[in-house]
């Protein structure tokens, strides 16, 4: 059909990409498939430390399932979501690397890759599914993707059994060695998407004019130097160049989307100390970001892997991670259930906000696919199979909803990711241990 290579293999990612020809030959902005009136949005909401699976998994499969205690808050979205049981992330398992399941489960969660066990040298995992999608449609929006969180990364000491803290505090990875740092301050996240609202258009133009000249200069200044560096140093400098180019693209996008009024959202100046308020503000931001098409891809970590915060608002005074090693003690499991329910409630809030936004005949939720879940199922045993997962939204009418899909044998989570990437027109053919697509969800 063509002499252009149909496939490129991005080294080390485990992702084989078949780039659609159109997009190789044309500027991205006109890539027709991705440019519809109501594009598909992709979101991942991650919670730490697994869940009490007995209270999570519905008994029946199919459409007649009952919402369990933990998932009860999501019942009002029955016709707009699927509960998925039986998916696993095999690369989160030790595979000879010993303990460290929390760090592994976060870094594996969206990458499907096995993290290289290191506390310092050679951080390496894989490109995450959100970033693979951003590679394809990211340039169509102001921001290719947004990464949100509640906690900063850890500041000192060990995070998890010999794994660098980078692994436990990031689920989104731009390259195999560059985690996407998350924004935890709601106001700053908002301003990153929409500007601070106080800056006049003329000031922005002037600033961007100089920014472009500055970026040109600094890139030229060290272009020669780059060639003289060893491979590791060069990789670090390449991260710099990638980020500089990312900013250049953003400037170009801002010119196109000039003088768009930012959505209205009341935000505090600092990071809210109330967890529920903090979580909901971040969700509000994701909603307005999707609604205004400022980005189509977002990840949100409700806590870093192995997070040990208490949830006093629901009467849980002990740390989440300590409790998750409940040793099947009823009282501890009850405490965890309270946390599971609290978090599911927040997710229900998010879905409600998405559903409130009308888009054409449907809603923003209809045009989204939001995966809610954790990288562990039973955290007491550090299980990486049968993960607690809910896939909400109809992916623009491409996903059939209202089901509890249950598979008897473990299905790679990467199969689901492939199916989700299809809906972002990303042309990815294989991720990690994927064995095909998760066609159950196909409408």
């Amino acid at each position: 059909m063509s002499q252009l290579p149909r496939r490129t293999f991005i080294k080390g990612l485990g992702i084989t990409m078949g780039l659609p020809l159109l997009e190789v030959m044309q500027p991205l902005a006109s890539a027709s498939a991705a440019e519809s009136a109501h594009p598909v949005r992709m979101g991942f909401v991650f919670f730490p430390n697994g869940a009490i699976m007995q209270s999570w998994t519905p008994e029946k499969a199919g459409t007649e399932f009952e919402f369990t205690d933990t998932l009860k808050p999501l019942e009002e979205f029955r016709s707009e979501l699927n509960v998925l049981s039986g998916l696993g992330q095999d690369n989160g398992r030790a595979k000879g690397d010993g303990p460290g399941d929390h760090a592994r489960c976060a870094s594996t969660y969206l990458t499907g890759a096995h993290p290289y066990k290191t506390s310092g040298a050679d951080i390496r995992v894989g490109v995450s599914v959100d970033q693979a999608a951003a590679l394809q449609v990211g340039e169509l929006t102001r921001l290719p993707s947004i990464e949100l969180g509640i906690d900063r990364g850890r500041n000192a000491g060990n995070c998890d059994s010999g794994y660098s803290c980078a692994y436990s505090s990031n689920i989104s990875w731009k390259t195999e060695s560059t985690p996407m740092a998350k924004e935890i301050n709601p106001r700053l996240a908002f301003e990153r998407l929409f500007g601070n609202g106080r800056e006049a258009e003329a000031s922005r133009q002037k600033r961007d004019f100089y920014r472009k000249s500055i970026l040109d200069l600094v890139q030229n200044d060290v272009a020669g130097l780059r060639k003289q560096l060893g491979q590791t140093d060069r990789r670090k400098l390449d991260e710099y160049f990638d980020s500089v180019r990312g900013l250049e693209v953003r400037i170009a996008q801002a010119e196109k989307a000039a003088s768009q009024t930012p959505p209205e959202l009341e935000l505090p100046d600092g990071v809210p100390s109330d967890l529920k308020q903090h979580i909901r503000l971040m969700m509000d931001i994701l909603v307005v970001a999707f609604q205004s098409d400022a980005t189509r891809i977002g990840t949100f970590m409700l806590g870093n892997a192995g997070d040990n915060r208490p949830y006093r608002m629901v009467g849980v005074n002990e740390g989440h991670h300590s409790l998750s090693h409940h040793g099947n003690k009823a009282e501890k499991m009850d405490q965890i259930r309270k946390i599971d329910g609290f978090l599911a409630n927040q997710f229900a809030y998010f879905l409600g906000r998405l559903r409130d936004v009308k888009e054409g005949e449907g809603t923003l939720l209809d045009n989204s696919m939001i995966l809610y879940g954790s990288g562990l199922s039973d955290a007491n045993r550090h299980d990486h199979h049968n993960l607690p997962l809910v896939l909400a939204g109809k992916g623009g009418g491409t996903i059939r909803t209202g089901h509890h899909f249950r598979t008897d044998s473990e299905v790679p989570m990467n199969n689901l990711f492939l199916s989700m990437l299809d809906r972002m027109h990303s042309g990815v053919e294989k991720i990690g241990d994927s064995t095909g697509r998760f066609t159950d969800i196909d409408a």
Binding site: P99, G157, K182, L229, Y240, N380
Partner: protein
């Protein structure tokens, strides 16, 4: 000179009983000496040694492996990827260091062979272990040591903050909104882990713009900056109300205010968009305020349907300011016969501050006057003037001399601005912004390597050395003296380095070692995350801050007074304020100020008994002896326990089998499982030794009406009663602590994890320390003088 074995095995002579503990400690230590990622090319050395190695293997070791291991670990059935039958010499083992290091650990721990299988005698086990160690970790310290390779390091948040402070001489807080730097090897200055995602670069350029505008002031008359506030951005008081269409309505006296940050002192224009419903004799008036003080009034003749802009000139000082607009002449005569003349109301859309229109020449900041030393004129082009201004600044920002052609590019940015009709100062702001986002500023680039010969080891040049020194001791850029010494080519001399280390430690900037090193070595930064249960412990953010300050001041005192580092473990003094003293039950300390307090009459000594450490090693509702024990092993003894076995839940099951048992009794069940006992015997003993301190570090003698049992026996039979005796035992083991501390400080200094070849460096430093009573300055000096610090191995070109 004998070659050196794993240093952990070379403790000073100690009592026999305790030495058994040390053997266990040593056993656990080997996890740290993981081999380098790339094996060194095999050198044509010691052919004889290798022949000897092979001979020992064939005659003594191989038979043991075949007897005890080969049944499960053979080439037909290599359980866990280990096969012993095919191994014929040391090289075969070195091919897969990772696997064989694991084998070594398991055999040493008595974790292999499994208890159900025939066991080797202790002597046989020692034979296997010692041969494997030699094969894997043999090092000849007489030969040139490998200085390792440090990946180019991006400035972390602390370093960025301090560098801006020292570069411009101003205290700003540019890093507040930066994402946290990921931690590796326990520290956040590890080159391999410091990445630069797009989010961070955006923060960098915003910070650079703000910094450049704070240190150099500029007026932009053509297109002055404006900051506009409307709707929810305004704080409304009095009668001011926000209505649905975004208008602010004031039916009687009311005020709308906003807080903003003024970067440059000077003249500004303060504006509102407003209209009014007129009534009475006067026109409706707005009074402007700055920080609540009236600065003038304007008439607002426009109607609310056709609002107009009204404003006046104001002088603003630098800093956070409140600007406001008030409706000040309300009029209300409901009885007036003319319905259109009964009520005067104000309608307002936004408030804006535009400028500066003009700078206040008497109020230019110090940094501005220091930087802007010349102005372009007839004799001096913009590029020439900018070069003159930028040259000294860029030399310091890039931490090395800047060639003319490089300088030119940045100076031309200034010209770009003036060509657009902007001021010279504005041009300088642009150039300084570029300087601050250049990789030459953001990264500590260490020149270039010989790509054709990856094994080349070279001495760092003096400028590279200056940066290593300053970021190690100050977490900041080199000062003028270091750069001058580097310029003269004198910095690399050992005598000069010694002198500089003393000078730098005495300088207030060595606080960087507290903020950068101590706060991470002792995990103090994690104190921010702990969240003790208010029902269990009276805790507050003030107490949290006090705890941290105590430990920081204690560390700083040992550093500043150049005390032996062993005082960190055993010093019978600390720094307390009233609140913390009360917390500790110590009398006679009042008020908020911290002061040095002797602890000789109290059961506290060194960092282990400080509330900060005791709190961050506890769970929210109770103490965690396991966490405390682990913390001591990791940070004080340098013997982090190995990872727990994968199938931990059996402990949970064991726990349930004994309902109603005390926590201590429950935990003691661990030791019934030999695999758990290996580590928990020591970890738990250390942790329970601290049980007299509750989850926030208060002294207690009872828990749940039961007396606290803080006695214990460390492996090897050394018994203690309570924390002070336990710390004394740990203190007798000086080299273990000194070695652990040295290794942590070396990781911090180098910005990389230690490899097996770093052992010679550590040995040498510990040797020097023991002859100099372990003083703080000696350890810093010895690190600075080491090859690992002063040299660099190259790396191959990108594949």
């Amino acid at each position: 000179m004998p070659t050196m074995r794993d240093p952990a095995h070379r403790f000073l002579p100690l009592s026999l009983a305790f030495s058994q503990l040390l053997i266990l400690v040593a056993v656990l230590t080997c996890t740290r000496w993981l081999p380098a990622q790339q094996d060194q090319p095999v050198k044509p050395r010691q052919a004889r040694a290798e022949a000897k190695e092979t001979e020992t293997f064939q005659q003594e070791v191989k038979p043991l492996l075949m007897k005890f291991c080969s049944e499960c670990h053979n080439e037909d059935e290599p359980t866990e990827g280990v096969a012993v039958d095919g191994v014929s010499n040391g090289s075969a083992v070195r091919v897969d260091r990772k696997t064989w290091t694991r084998v070594l650990q398991r055999v040493e721990f008595h974790a292999m062979p499994p208890k159900s299988e025939p066991q080797p005698t202790d002597e046989q086990r020692a034979t296997i272990v010692s041969w494997l160690e030699n094969a894997l970790f043999h090092l000849d310290c007489e030969k040139q040591t490998d200085p390792g390779r440090v990946t180019v390091r991006r400035l972390n948040r602390l370093e960025y903050h301090n560098t801006i402070r020292d570069l411009f001489g101003v205290e700003l807080d540019p890093t507040r909104d930066f994402p946290s730097d990921d931690v590796g090897e326990g520290f956040d200055n590890i080159g391999d882990v410091l990445s630069l995602p797009p989010l961070l670069f955006e923060k960098y350029i915003e910070a650079a713009e703000q910094i450049s505008q704070s240190v150099v002031l500029a007026v932009d008359k053509e297109n002055p900056d404006n900051q506009r506030f409307e709707k929810n951005q305004l704080r409304l008081t009095g009668a001011a109300k926000l209505v649905a269409d975004g208008t602010i309505v004031m039916t009687s006296r009311g005020t709308a205010e906003a807080t903003l940050s003024v970067a440059s002192a000077g003249t500004y224009r303060l504006l509102v968009q407003a209209g009014a419903q007129q009534a009475g004799d006067e026109v409706a008036k707005i009074e402007f305020t700055v920080d609540g003080k009236p600065v003038g009034q304007v008439d607002v003749p426009a109607s609310q349907r056709a609002m107009q802009e009204y404003g006046l000139e104001v002088t603003m000082a630098v800093g956070d300011r409140r600007i406001g607009a008030s409706f000040v002449n309300d009029y209300y005569q409901p009885k007036d016969p003319d319905p259109a003349n009964r009520d005067r109301n104000m309608f307002l859309r936004w408030i804006e501050l535009v400028g500066p229109q003009e700078l206040d020449p008497d109020n230019l900041p110090e940094s501005h006057r220091r930087i802007v030393t010349v102005q372009p004129g007839e004799e001096l082009s913009v590029v020439e003037a900018a070069s003159e201004v930028l040259a000294p600044l860029m030399r310091r920002a890039f931490r090395r001399p800047v060639p003319a052609e490089q300088l030119q590019g940045y100076a031309q940015l200034a010209e770009l601005a003036t060509e657009r009709g902007e001021s010279f100062e504005r041009g300088l702001q642009v150039a300084i912004t570029a300087m601050l986002v250049s990789p030459r500023f953001l990264f500590r680039l260490e020149g270039t390597d010989r790509l054709d010969d990856p094994a080349t080891i070279r001495q760092l040049d003096d400028f590279e050395l200056a940066s290593r020194l300053s970021y190690f001791i100050w977490s900041s850029m080199p000062d003028e003296r270091l750069l001058a010494l580097a310029g003269k080519g004198q910095l690399g001399r050992a005598s000069v380095l010694r002198e500089e280390v003393r000078r730098m430690l005495a300088d207030p900037r060595s606080r960087g070692l507290v903020d950068g090193f101590a706060s991470q070595w002792l995990n103090l930064r994690n104190l921010d995350e702990v969240s003790p249960d208010p029902d269990a412990f009276p805790f507050s953010d003030e107490l949290r801050a006090d705890m941290r300050q105590e430990t920081e001041m204690f560390f700083e005192a040992v550093m500043r007074d150049d005390r032996p580092i062993t005082e960190l473990l055993s010093g019978r003094y600390s720094f307390l304020n009233g609140r913390l003293a009360e917390h500790y039950g110590i009398d006679g300390v009042e008020g908020g100020e911290f002061r040095r307090v002797s602890l000789l009459d109290y059961p506290r000594a060194g960092v282990l008994t400080q509330a900060s450490i005791l709190t961050l090693t506890s769970d929210p509702t109770r103490t965690s002896p396991v966490k405390r024990g682990k913390w001591i092993m990791e940070n004080i003894l340098g013997t982090p326990p190995p990872d727990p076995p994968a199938d931990v839940p059996e402990i949970g099951a064991a726990r349930e089998a004994l309902p109603g048992a005390s926590f201590r009794e429950q935990l003691e069940l661990h030791r019934e499982s030999p695999r758990c006992a290996v580590c928990h015997v020591e970890m738990d003993a250390l942790g329970f030794g601290m049980e007299n301190f509750d989850g926030i570090g208060r002294w207690r003698t009872e828990l749940d009406s039961q007396p606290i049992d803080a006695s214990g026996t460390l492996p090897g039979g050394h018994s203690f009663e309570g924390p002070i005796q336990m710390i004394e035992i740990l203190g007798e083991n000086e080299p273990a602590f000194v070695r652990a501390f040295t290794r942590k400080l070396l990781v911090f200094a180098l910005g990389r994890g230690l490899k097996y070849y770093d052992r010679c460096t550590v040995d040498e430093i510990v040797k020097q320390l023991s002859s100099d009573s372990y003083t703080f300055s000696t350890i810093v000096e010895q690190i600075v003088l080491s090859d690992a610090f002063r040299k660099r191995r190259a790396e191959g070109a990108a594949k």
